[in-house]
């Protein structure tokens, strides 16, 4: 968090158009989202409960959520190489409500200002968005990093991670 203040400065400078690099469109999501004051999202994105087994795959697989790139999760210890960028998710289902976890997955910056965590349901409002990992420029709206179903599955899995 050393540089949160600096990001603020950088973004402010960027938005003044100094390099023309920081132009961006309005922030959009893959569906209408009602964020509560604390960043949580009460309504299910699919209108039905998620599948925790599929949710485990969303967290573990590089091609899906790749959440363990940054977070350690003991329940997923069979999948190698857990990162240490964000906090461990052990017990996260006891620390947060379902609505809070959903809000963090949809757009973590609404809960934790300046969070490094990507906004998994966001489709617009990026600086220099690219098409996947090709390096080529993309037109917004982009497909979200995770679908509504994948987010609900991940939430269902996270809710199973209770303190002992």
């Amino acid at each position: 968090m050393k540089s949160r203040a600096l990001w603020g400065i950088a973004l402010a400078v960027g938005m003044a158009g100094a390099a023309g690099a920081a132009e961006r469109g309005p922030v959009t999501y893959a569906a209408d989202i009602n964020f509560a004051e604390d960043g949580s999202v009460a309504e299910s994105l699919t209108g039905k409960p998620g599948n925790p087994e599929n949710g485990a795959q969303v967290l573990a697989q590089k091609k899906i959520g790749n959440c363990i790139a940054c977070h350690q999760v003991t329940a997923l210890k069979d999948y190698p190489f857990h990162g240490e960028i964000g906090p461990s998710l052990d017990g996260v289902g006891s620390r947060y409500s379902e609505a809070q976890l959903r809000g963090i997955l949809v757009d973590a910056k609404k809960t934790f200002e300046g969070s490094m965590m990507p906004s998994f349901f966001k489709t617009g409002g990026f600086i220099r968005p690219g098409i996947g990992f090709t390096g080529k420029p993309a037109k917004e709206p982009l497909p979200p990093l995770l679908t509504a179903e994948q987010i609900e599955d991940a939430v269902a899995f996270l809710m199973t991670l209770k303190d002992e």
Binding site: M1, K2, S3, L6, W7, I9, A10, L11, V13, G14, A18, A19, A21, A22, K62, N66, I68, A69, C70, P80, F81, H82, G83, E84, I85, M116, P118, S119, K122, F126, I127, R128, P129, G130, G132, F133, T134, G135, K136, P137, A138, L142, L145
Partner: protein
Amino acid sequence: MRRKAFATAALVALGLAGPLSADPVDDKLIVNGETELVTHTKAPDYIDGLDEIWSGWAFRAAETRAIEADDFDNPGMIFVEDAEAVWNRVEGGAGKSCASCHGDPSSMKGVRTVMPKYNEKAGDLWSLEDYINDCRVNRMQAEAWGWNDKDMVNMTALISVQSRGMPMNVAIDGPAKPYWEKGREMYYTRTGQLELSCANCHEDHYGDMIRADHLSQGQINGFPTYRLKNAKLNSIHARFKGCVRDTRAATYKPGSPEFHALELYVASRGNGLSVEGVAVRN
């Protein structure tokens, strides 16, 4: 980071540390048993986000670190030898080689330490590649090399080796200042669908693991760098491009004004670290 280092030290003292510590390794890099390189020192005072600066060498596995310590083991040195042959090769309408004007490559000693720098005549910020192409086109009347052509990257390596062990010392004031400021702005701008800035990983989280990768400070004093991943020398701008692409962003082109500015800013974050000529990384 710093807090974690203390915590790790405390755990080690208590005998509780796990087998893996992700912090940079405070080891000495002595090349060929004779040239000691500075891989860890105090950060320049104009870099607010860092107290200490570390070469990427300190974040690599013991085996990778050992390869760089011996020129016979360092595969990057084969490309330096290739560049030596090109140095002496006559090309272009003027019937000249690099050696015709510059003599031995050792005449390039110190050049790498101040790159990129503002070129008065051109009125622009020039990287080593720009100086090489200026020689090729205007003095040799030969064709310009592409930024990432093998001959170009190898030649920057040959020139870098001449400064091995000398501290990076790019100028950030005077006419270089606007470029440096633009580079700094880029460093802290969160780009792409993943909304990541250089600083997110390389200032706030150096030393941490991101999946199987050990994040370094992204220093460029060791460039061009031999990567085990692609078994060739890699230019600074090619590496920048790979990093920007990995934020799911639209990249800039190697040789673009943006990457020139970013190169100056990132180089300045490493002022004081030795030119490695040539580094070995993952």
